[in-house]
């Protein structure tokens, strides 16, 4: 059974999403050579914050060429999403770091 307190929260969340046309910020972290979350969703106009928690430089490089951001060690880099699509991206320095960004219109 769904606890009673869940209902208002779900309602508030649903309402929040439906009335808000404001751009959101999605945070993606790079730590110990892992991108987290491995699959993130965002909307066109949203800002993605790439937080590099490692002592090593990383990149977020889209396979389709849409973006190629360098994130120095212990730094955060932001980008505004301009195009919808399912974008696979990776780190050029460590191609074993891979993730997906689902950008909806």
């Amino acid at each position: 059974m769904t606890p009673r307190w869940i209902v208002p929260i779900v309602a508030a969340l649903a309402l929040g999403i439906s009335v808000s046309a404001q751009a959101a910020t999605v945070e993606i972290s790079m730590e110990n050579l892992e991108i987290s979350p491995a699959e993130a969703s965002a909307k066109v106009g949203d800002t993605v914050r790439l937080v590099n928690k490692d002592d090593f430089a990383h990149t977020a490089t889209a396979r389709n060429g849409d973006f190629d951001m360098m994130i120095p060690p212990k730094k955060t880099v932001s980008m505004v999403l301009k195009k919808a699509g399912k974008v696979e991206y990776y780190c050029r320095f460590h191609p074993n770091m891979k993730a997906v960004l689902n950008i909806v219109p």
């Binding site: 050579l33 892992e34 002592d55 090593f56 430089a57 320095f93 460590h94 191609p95 074993n96 770091m97």
Partner: protein, 171 residues
């Protein structure tokens, strides 16, 4: 034990355990890992002085930056743990083979050098990854050292893939 090893894989096998009857100790592991890093930095510096290929140059710069960062973390850790890295036969063999490789590569030029350097980077990172996975990580007793080696393994695996990618572009 040594009889089974062929000369070609001797260096790899050495770090993979043949040299240690009971597995390397933490001070030895720290020395091996640090040596493996300095070897790759030296190789990258040689490449930077010889290559004019953009991809190869970028790759070599990545190697210097990452391996210097890993080795700095390693030095910080041994200082914190008050461990003195201990030279050992595996480190010595690694260093000896690396010097021979530098000498061999120094005689090559242009595209020939680029291909040989990148091919060696693929092979070298594969060998180090294998040593980390099969010997160094399982033998490490200190948790922080083990964790640093695990991070090192992911970085080295990344470098291996990166080197393979550059190698395929050089063909």
């Amino acid at each position: 034990m040594f009889v089974r090893l062929s000369a070609a894989i001797a260096a790899v096998s050495l770090i993979s355990g043949a040299a240690f009857a009971a597995g390397p100790t933490d001070p030895q592991i720290a020395h091996i890992a640090y040596t493996a890093g300095t070897i790759d930095i030296a190789a990258a510096k040689q490449a930077l002085s010889k290559t004019s290929n953009k991809e190869v140059k970028a790759f070599a710069q990545d190697m210097v930056r990452d391996h210097e960062a890993v080795n700095k973390k390693a030095l910080d850790l041994v200082k914190k743990l008050k461990v003195t890295p201990e030279d050992n036969d595996t480190s010595k063999t690694l260093q000896k083979n690396a010097s021979a490789k530098l000498e061999e590569l120094s005689k090559l030029k242009g595209a020939e050098f680029d291909k040989a350097y990148i091919a060696n980077e693929v092979a070298y990172h594969k060998a180090v990854d294998n040593a980390l996975e099969t010997t160094l990580i399982p033998s490490a007793s200190n948790a922080e050292l083990k964790s640093l080696l695990e991070t090192g393994l992911k970085i080295f695996q990344g470098h291996e893939q990166h080197a393979e990618q550059v190698a395929s572009e050089l063909k």
